[in-house]
């Protein structure tokens, strides 16, 4: 490679990617420079894929790389200019001629703030000032999603990506070698006998495996739930990518299966896909009709193996609960455990008296709030315990009604 400025530019490009969240280290930058030196850099396609091969190592990173590449290499000066002028994020959008809206993280990465530090504002508050972090988080955890500022929502989202939902594992019909198992494993015993030539045969044992049951999330995205459902989507994304056998559905007036979209590792891409797939954001709610669609088209396909169902809704139904009781009863009978998460439960005086809510109440196994980070973590704890009987979690509610 002639000494031009290409290596330097590749280095800067690597830094942009790193700031945007891709794990690009110096070795990968060196690899990229090496790769660029053996391809025809005048050929944009070749150059693109050479850098791609060197800098991207997961499918989920591709969209971010693609956007960064096109902005950076169409006009690297744009970046330099931004570096010196620190023009606001919106300037990038205008200058980049990108049809697609720029990934937010990339926009932040391209907009330099203080050098030497990671530029994401949420991180500064949460991660850099250690003593503030703690109290910040404490406040954040108890804060209602609805009352959060943009920055706080951002921090909450980030906390949510680390959230897991450990469902209590149920016994599977499969066995594995285990020193304290109850059943003999003859296959392993005989194989072990080969080593000693049959003089001495040690009994090997096996025991039943346990695995978490499948999880089905059905989330209300109607107008009354708007603020929460957007936050909860991040939660759903984190859970979907954490394990197998998770299915996610959204409903307002119609039911949509967004499992495939949410499986995308990259949270921005996943949520963009969800936004495309769903047409009734923030509209009315027809819980009964949506559950009916679910029961008819999906319940036999996704609840087959004893799934735990999370129904996230405020129970405010445009059809005022018509036909809801039948559908929720059917759903309740087809799953292992039905958990109703209701953000309205944040009000101490809340009573499920609306007709929709009253119809749901007798058929759920758990009734829990879902309005802040704390409530979601409590949920995780509750689902990790073994319930004594099915409607244990709501017995108090049922007696009150």
């Amino acid at each position: 490679m002639n000494g031009g400025r290409l290596p330097e530019n590749i280095m800067h490009f690597g830094r942009v990617l790193r700031t945007a969240g891709l794990p690009v280290g110096p070795d990968q930058v060196l690899k990229a420079i090496e790769a660029a030196s053996v391809v025809d850099v005048a050929d944009r396609t070749q150059f693109y894929w050479a850098l791609h091969a060197a800098l991207v190592n997961r499918r989920g990173q591709r969209e971010l790389f693609d956007q960064a590449f096109h902005i950076f290499w169409r006009n690297p000066r744009l970046l330099e200019r931004m570096m010196s002028l620190a023009i606001p994020t919106s300037g990038v959008d205008a200058g980049s001629e990108e049809a697609e809206p720029l990934a937010r993280r990339l926009a932040e990465a391209l907009t330099p703030q203080e050098t030497g530090l990671r530029e994401r504002e949420g991180d500064e508050e949460v991660e850099i000032h250690a003593e503030l972090t703690w109290s910040d988080r404490e406040v954040l955890r108890a804060m209602d999603f609805e009352t959060m500022s943009l920055a706080e929502q951002e921090a909450a989202r980030r906390a949510m990506t680390k959230m897991r939902l450990p469902l209590r594992p149920v016994p599977a019909r499969r066995f594995r070698l285990h020193p304290r198992g109850l059943r003999p494993d003859l296959r392993a015993t005989l194989r072990g006998a080969m080593r000693t030539g049959g003089d001495f045969v040690a009994l090997r044992r096996r025991r039943r495996l346990r695995r978490p049951p499948p999880l089905v999330v059905i989330c209300d995205i109607s107008g009354s739930m708007a603020r929460y459902s957007r936050m909860l989507l991040h939660f759903m994304h984190a859970v979907t990518n954490d394990r197998d056998r998770v299915h996610c559905f959204l409903f307002g007036t119609r039911l949509a299966n967004v499992t495939r979209q949410l499986r995308q590792k990259d949270v921005d891409t996943a949520l963009a896909g969800v936004a495309d797939a769903v047409e009734d954001w923030s509209g009315g709610t027809r819980i009964g009709a949506s559950l009916r669609t679910f029961n008819r088209l999906w319940s036999r396909r996704v609840l087959g193996q004893g799934a735990v169902v999370l129904l996230i809704s405020d129970g405010l139904d445009r059809d005022s609960g018509d036909g809801l009781a039948v559908q929720i009863e059917r759903l309740h009978k087809s799953c292992r455990r039905l958990v109703w998460l209701n953000p309205l439960l944040r009000y101490d005086a809340y009573e499920p008296r609306a007709r929709g809510a009253a119809a749901l109440m007798p058929h759920v196994d758990e009734f829990r709030p879902a309005h802040n980070l704390d409530s979601l973590e409590d949920l995780a704890a509750a689902l990790g315990r073994e319930p004594v009987r099915r409607q244990e979690g709501v017995s108090e509610w049922l007696t009150r009604l």
Binding site: R174, R187, T189, L190, A193, M194, G197, V302, Q305, R330
Partner: protein, 309 residues
């Protein structure tokens, strides 16, 4: 050497072959079966319960004169019950005998204990062995009931038609078997497995085909009764029920009606025998009474109109 019938050479021939086994197919199904047989790839059949998925494999085995090997799937199905298992009792006796004769040589014993004579072959391994009639028909029934780990294991078997027994080595099929996989869709089968197969959704038949099936499966039923039953079931399938009746239910219903010496449907009989057709209490409750009678009246007037025309 093959005593079994040769594979069909066209879609039409496949249709005839199935028909020879009293299976009434349509072009879509015949095409899928033909491609699967011709190109040696598994056929993946999905559909509601009772539409004749399993029957296809049985009919194919019968008409082609091949052995049918059936693997019924269930959760926890493992290599020991699906592929092979060692005969532990015999192995232990062998060890005891070796001890008694004083010739317990470690090397030789290891070789002997894990030889083919101690191997119990389970369906997947059996399916790799051709006999005089040619390669067998392997039916992997209700794959959705098995768990994901087993599905992953199938990937290997279905792409190479080869099974590896660690102590013996790989065992490959000389001629790959015809594989039929069925699923009731109680969960989604992974795309990686579907990719290797020809896919066919077995739906409910139209009236003509259903009548044809009925004439083969219940040949002694009076023609008028069959026509009424088919027309009635077709109407019921248009309703918004939780579980629609399949072909198996139609056949059952005709048999049940014949046992009751019914020659034509009447409201009382329909009400009394709805349990043969519908298997959910909600569905039965919805249909019982006036609705069942209304459908019956529609059926009667339509059949009368068709008879007059």
């Amino acid at each position: 050497m093959e005593t079994g019938r040769a594979l069909p050479q066209s879609v039409a021939e496949t249709g005839e072959l199935l028909e020879a086994g009293d299976y009434v197919s349509d072009t879509a199904l015949a095409t899928a079966v033909f491609l699967s047989l011709k190109l040696g790839r598994p056929l993946f059949l999905e559909g509601e319960a009772g539409v004749g998925k399993t029957e296809i494999a049985k009919v194919l085995a019968e008409t082609l004169g091949r052995r049918l090997i059936r693997l019924q799937c269930y959760e926890g199905l493992d290599v020991a019950s699906a592929v092979y298992e060692w005969n532990y009792a015999r192995q232990m006796i062998e060890i005891r005998l070796a001890e008694a004769s004083g010739g317990a040589d470690r090397e030789r014993l290891g070789r002997d204990l894990f030889g083919p004579e101690f191997l119990i072959e389970r369906p997947l391994l059996q399916a790799l062995r051709s006999d005089d009639a040619g390669p067998p028909v392997l039916l992997i029934d209700e794959l959705d009931r098995a768990d994901e780990p087993f599905e992953a294991y199938l990937l290997e078997v279905l792409s190479d038609f080869q099974v590896t027994v660690p102590e013996i080595g790989p065992i490959a099929a000389t001629v790959p078997p015809a594989v039929i996989i069925t699923s009731n869709r109680t969960r989604e089968i992974h795309d990686a497995l579907k990719r290797r197969c020809f896919y066919h959704w077995v739906g409910y038949p139209d009236a003509q085909r259903e009548l044809d099936i009925l004439s083969r499966k219940a040949p002694t039923a009076p023609g008028d009764l069959s026509r009424q039953v088919v027309a009635y079931v077709q109407k019921v399938r248009e309703l918004d029920l939780f579980k629609l009746p399949g072909i198996a239910e139609t056949i059952d219903w005709v048999h049940a009606l014949m046992q009751l010496d019914v020659v034509a449907l009447d409201p009382a009989t329909v009400n009394d025998t709805l349990g043969v057709l519908l298997k959910y209490q909600d569905d039965i409750a919805r249909l019982q009474g006036s609705k069942a009678e209304r459908i019956l009246n529609e059926v009667r007037s339509e059949l009368a109109a068709a008879g007059a025309a």
